[in-house]
C-alpha cells in the first residue's frame, strides 16, 4: 500500500470574489498561497463555513485553476460550483472578505500523460470543473505544484455536455487553452443535440480519455473507451464526509487480485483507471 501521509494544509482563508458564471453556477476565488503552490489538476480540497454546526461537514471541490500574481507566483485558488443543497446555497451568499475554512490539496490528481499526443477530456455538467487546469498543463501553458512545464503540448479535445445551454460555464476559459471545445446539450439548446458520449462517438478517437461527471455518464464513457480500446481515467465525485481518508464514507468498488474491495475515493482517487473500477458490484 502506498504511503498515505501526504501533507495537506488546513487554513482559514478570505473570499476574494464570488460571482455567477452560469445558471446556479458560481466561481469563488480565495487567497491561499501555500495551497496554490502545491495543488495539481484533478486534486481537490474541502471547504467549510467557519461558524456554526449546520452545515457541519466540509464539502469537496475540485481545483478549477490557480490564481497567479503579477510575478507569476500562485497566490489563490478558483473553484466553480453548482448550487445543489445546503452548503452550496450558503456559499452562493458569500461576499469578498468573508472567510472559509479549507483543507487540501487532497487526492491523487490526473495522470500526466507525458507521451500522449491527443487527449480527450469528457465533462458532464458540473464535472467540467477539474478540466481547465488539466487542459492548461496538457497544453504546456502552466505548470502546477512541482511539475515542470510540459515541453510537447498535447492536442486536447474537450467534450462538454450539459442539460441545457444556460448551464454552460467556462467555455471561453477552455477555448483559451487552445483545446478544441465541443458542446452537447440534452435539450438541443446548444451544439450537439444529445448526450456528451453521443457527441464524442461522432468524433475522432483520442489516444486517451479522461472523464468527470455523473455516474451514468461515466459508465457510458467507460463502455465507449473499452469498445474503442482507448485507455480511460475517470474522476469520481462520490459524496465525502472528511476528504482525508478517516471516515470510509466515499468508497467505490475497485478490482483486486482476488475479486473486488471498496477503496476510499478521497485518498486512492478521485481519479481511477476506468479498467480498475468494479461498478457492477
Amino acid at each position: 500500500m502506498k504511503d498515505m501521509s501526504a501533507a495537506f494544509i488546513q487554513m482559514r482563508v478570505p473570499v476574494e470574489r464570488n460571482q455567477p458564471v452560469a445558471r446556479n453556477t458560481y466561481l469563488l476565488r480565495f487567497r491561499a498561497a501555500d495551497m496554490a503552490r502545491s495543488i495539481k489538476p484533478g486534486q481537490f480540497f474541502m471547504v467549510r463555513l467557519p461558524q456554526g454546526s449546520d452545515p457541519l461537514l466540509g464539502r469537496p471541490f475540485a481545483l478549477y485553476d490557480t490564481v497567479l500574481d503579477e510575478t507569476g507566483t500562485p497566490v489563490g485558488i478558483d473553484f466553480v460550483y453548482l448550487v445543489v443543497g445546503k452548503m452550496t446555497s450558503r456559499l452562493s451568499q458569500l461576499r469578498p472578505g468573508d472567510e472559509l475554512e479549507v483543507w487540501g490539496p487532497l487526492g491523487n490528481g490526473f495522470p500526466d500523460l507525458a507521451d500522449v499526443e491527443h487527449v480527450g477530456l469528457v465533462a458532464g455538467g458540473i464535472g467540467q470543473t477539474p478540466f481547465l487546469a488539466y487542459a492548461r498543463s496538457l497544453r504546456g501553458q502552466r505548470g502546477y505544484g512541482d511539475a515542470a512545464l510540459r515541453k510537447q503540448p498535447a492536442r486536447v479535445s474537450i467534450y462538454y455536455g450539459v442539460r441545457s445551454a444556460d448551464l454552460l460555464a467556462g467555455v471561453a476559459d477552455f477555448q483559451a487553452t487552445g483545446a478544441a471545445v465541443h458542446i452537447a446539450a440534452e435539450d438541443g439548446s446548444a451544439g450537439f443535440h444529445g448526450r456528451v458520449t453521443g457527441l464524442l462517438a461522432d468524433h475522432e478517437r483520442p489516444q486517451h480519455l479522461v472523464g468527470c461527471g455523473p455516474e451514468p455518464m461515466l459508465h457510458a464513457l467507460a463502455d465507449l473507451a473499452r469498445a474503442w480500446k482507448v485507455p480511460c481515467h475517470l474522476s469520481l465525485e462520490t459524496p465525502m464526509a472528511c476528504g482525508v481518508g478517516i471516515c470510509f464514507t466515499c468508497v467505490t468498488p475497485v478490482r483486486t487480485a482476488d475479486g473486488w474491495d471498496y477503496r476510499r475515493v478521497c485518498i486512492d482517487g478521485p481519479v481511477f483507471d476506468a479498467a480498475c473500477l468494479a461498478w457492477t458490484e
Partner: protein
C-alpha cells in the same frame, strides 16, 4: 502549568484527549497534519476477526448539526491489522488503544488473546456497541452478556480494558456496572444513537443500510447526561464521547465526570481538532484555578 495526566485503571495517559475509533482512520492518514505527541491517545478503527467489506454506499449523510453513518465495520481483519497497521501505530509517540468487535463471545476472546500478545498497545477497547452490523453485534444492550465478554477477555488478555457502550438502551448504568464488575479498567460512552434519514420524494431511506448511527454536536447533551449518570453511580473511570468539538465541550464532559474524552466526528470537519483541544486545556483549567485533572473531574455541582 497544570498537570494534564490522567489514570484510568491500569492505563495512564499524558492528557485526556483521545481520537475516537472509526473517526481517525489508522492514524497514518493524518500523519502530515497531526502532531501525535500532543494527543492523549489514538484509537484506530474497529478491527474484526475476518475482513469485512462494510455496507453499500451511501454510508453517511449529514443531518442537523450531526451525521448518520452506517459504515458497517469496513476493515481488512485482525491479521492484516497486526501485520500492516500495528507496526506503524506502535511507532507513534502516543498511546495506541486497539479497538475490536467480535461476532460472538468466543470471537471476542480469540481476538483479545491474539492482540494481547502484541507489543506496543496501551490498552484494548471492546466495541460492544456497533449499531451497523446486521446480525446484531450489540452486546452492550444486555448486562449479563457485557459481563461475560469483558470477564472472558480479561482472562486471556493482559492489556487494560475499556468497554465501549451503546446509548441505545433503556438504562446504561446497569450495563456500565456489569463492565465494572467484570474487571474493565474503564467504560467509554457513547457510541452512536440509531437514527433514520429519508428522501421523501423517492420514499426511500438515504443510507444504503436504511438506519445509521447519529453522531456530532447533535448528540452532545444526550451523551453528557449518560456520562454524568454513569460516573456518579459506577466506580470505574468513564471516557466521555459525543459531539465534542470545542474546549467548552471537553470541560463539560470532565466536569460531568469523565476522566478522559474521545473526539469523533469533529476530526472529519477539523482534522487537527484533537491537538487543538489538548493544547487549549491548560488555559481552561487555569480559569477554574485547577492544577490537576482531579481538581475538575466529576465536580458538577448538581
Amino acid at each position: 502549568m497544570a498537570e494534564l495526566g490522567v489514570t484510568l485503571g491500569r492505563l495512564r495517559l499524558r492528557n485526556p484527549v483521545l481520537a475516537a475509533s472509526g473517526t481517525f482512520g489508522y492514524a497514518r492518514e493524518l500523519a502530515g497534519v497531526v502532531d501525535f505527541s500532543l494527543v492523549g491517545g489514538v484509537i484506530p478503527k474497529t478491527v474484526t476477526c475476518q475482513p469485512r467489506l462494510g455496507n453499500k454506499p451511501p454510508r453517511t449523510v449529514e443531518t442537523a448539526s450531526g451525521m448518520l453513518n452506517a459504515i458497517g465495520l469496513d476493515n481488512d481483519g485482525l491479521e492484516h491489522f497486526i501485520a500492516h497497521h500495528l507496526p506503524y501505530l506502535r511507532g507513534l509517540p502516543t498511546a495506541i488503544i486497539a479497538n475490536i468487535a467480535g461476532k460472538s463471545e468466543a470471537e471476542f476472546f480469540e481476538m483479545g488473546e491474539r492482540i494481547g500478545r502484541e507489543a506496543g498497545l496501551a490498552a484494548l477497547e471492546l466495541n460492544l456497541s456497533c449499531p451497523n452490523v446486521s446480525g446484531g453485534v450489540d452486546f452492550a444492550i444486555d448486562p449479563a452478556v457485557t459481563r461475560r465478554v469483558v470477564e472472558g477477555v480479561r482472562k486471556v488478555c493482559p492489556l487494560p480494558l475499556i468497554a465501549k457502550l451503546t446509548p441505545n438502551v433503556t438504562s446504561i448504568v446497569p450495563i456500565a456496572q456489569a463492565a465494572a464488575d467484570a474487571g474493565a479498567d474503564a467504560v467509554s460512552l457513547v457510541n452512536t444513537f440509531i437514527g433514520l434519514a429519508i428522501d421523501w420524494r423517492k420514499r426511500r431511506p438515504i443510507l444504503g443500510n436504511v438506519t445509521g448511527g447519529l453522531s456530532g454536536p447533535a448528540i452532545k447533551p444526550l451523551a453528557l447526561r449518560m456520562v454524568w449518570q454513569v460516573a456518579r453511580q459506577v466506580r470505574i473511570p468513564v471516557i466521555g464521547i459525543g459531539g465534542i468539538a470545542s474546549i467548552d465541550d471537553v470541560m463539560e464532559f470532565l466536569i460531568a465526570g469523565a476522566t478522559a474524552v474521545q473526539v469523533g466526528t469533529a476530526n472529519f470537519y477539523d482534522p487537527t481538532a484533537c491537538t487543538r483541544l489538548a493544547s487549549e486545556l491548560p488555559a481552561a483549567l487555569a480559569q477554574l484555578g485547577a492544577s490537576h485533572m482531579s481538581d475538575i473531574i466529576g465536580t458538577l455541582d448538581a
